[in-house]
Symmetry: C2
Subunit: 192 residues, 2 copies
DNA sequence: TGACTTAGTGGACGCCAGTCCACAAAACAA
DNA sequence: TTGTTTTGTGGACTGGCGTCCACTAAGTCA
């Protein structure tokens, strides 16, 4: 049952998806999500508008994929075998995530906004972005529990909601989300 | 310097604004923010589309005003002279707010979304909705500090961010926001 | 080679938000 | 009554998103 049967028909242009994501990110960062139209992105990538729709359902889907690939580099999963305390690991992780928001925070805000009006994208966003992040945090907090850094009676899922909620709230209200804020959050979570 | 000089020109129809807000709320609750167009609202209120734009800048501004008036009834400010503990007062307040979300949660989500793409509405939303709510919570928490229910070393502003952040995060992710959640939040805030 | 299949192109279309404008309607002032 | 000011109306218009479609391009299969 070899699934890798040779595909029939004209093969998709290999460079096109990368060019579209690159153009999308570049234009977003310069002008902001709202000001950049699908037509702008397609034209910047030198491709027809319909070609973009052949590969992604909406503008939000394209930007999600583009931002996600960047994020994976910046917000690397904390190392389970790390020597540092979980507390330090969490603060480092949050600082990294927050630093990434300096670049793509505007896009993130717009993706969250898009998810509110589009059921299908909400699902996609949740699966590819939110749940993985939550698991990084709850995993770290469970290790913290095993090491005795936080009490057994505390709920990692709930704490993750507090952490991400604080981040979203500040971000969506256009307030600063910086290392000092990360420190305050960690302080609260590890408060004995 | 009497400002209440008799206005010249055709007076605005007194019933129109109320009819538009009523129609907006009713249609939103039945079909959802996204599915209801400005034209739908105007036509349901028996008024020209331009008349709506004469009174509000955008769809979001109209809905904000409509929802705000409802909210003021449900989420009344906790009584500073109340006999109950601040802890109970906070849990009651949050439960009331959360109950209101059953009705207008969809509209709230869409307003938050709209604020992400519209600088001017973001400002309006913040001033009329978010800041008053934050002050209710920080005020309550400060009284809790005076009464010794929470430590002097804790920051009411930061705690308010945690509280509202948790609520937003759950709401924007389509998860349940109920009395049990309110209880968990209060538990965390008043944890000694 | 020719049949088939999939990708890419360009243009038309429907829907909606928000703007603009000319004109009618309702008030007041002289 | 006539002029002035403001509200309300209806229609045209721009620009964006997403869909549809006919046509062309680039591959595989027999």
């Amino acid at each position: 049952m070899d699934e890798r049967t040779k595909p029939v028909g004209r093969p998709p242009n290999a460079a096109t998806s990368a060019a579209l994501k690159e153009a999308a990110l570049r234009l977003m960062r310069e002008y902001g999500y709202r000001k950049v139209s699908i037509a702008d992105i397609a034209s910047a990538a030198g491709v027809a508008r319909q070609t973009l729709y052949n590969r992604w359902k909406t503008k939000a889907d394209l930007v999600l994929e583009a931002v996600f690939e960047e994020t994976a580099l910046v917000a690397a999963e904390p190392d389970a075998a790390g020597e540092e305390s979980c507390r330090v690991q969490l603060e480092t992780f949050l600082s990294n995530v927050f630093r990434h928001l300096d670049r793509d925070g505007d896009a993130m805000r717009s993706l969250i906004a898009a998810a509110q009006e589009d059921e299908s994208f909400q699902e996609e966003f949740r699966t590819r972005f939110i749940l993985p992040r939550e698991e990084m945090v709850t995993g770290l907090l469970r290790r913290a529990q095993e090491r005795g850094e936080i009490g057994r009676n505390r709920d990692p899922e709930f704490l993750s909601t507090l952490i991400h909620g604080a981040m979203w709230y500040r971000m969506l209200n256009g307030q600063v989300v910086d290392a000092a804020f990360a420190h305050d959050i960690v302080e609260e979570v590890f408060r004995s």
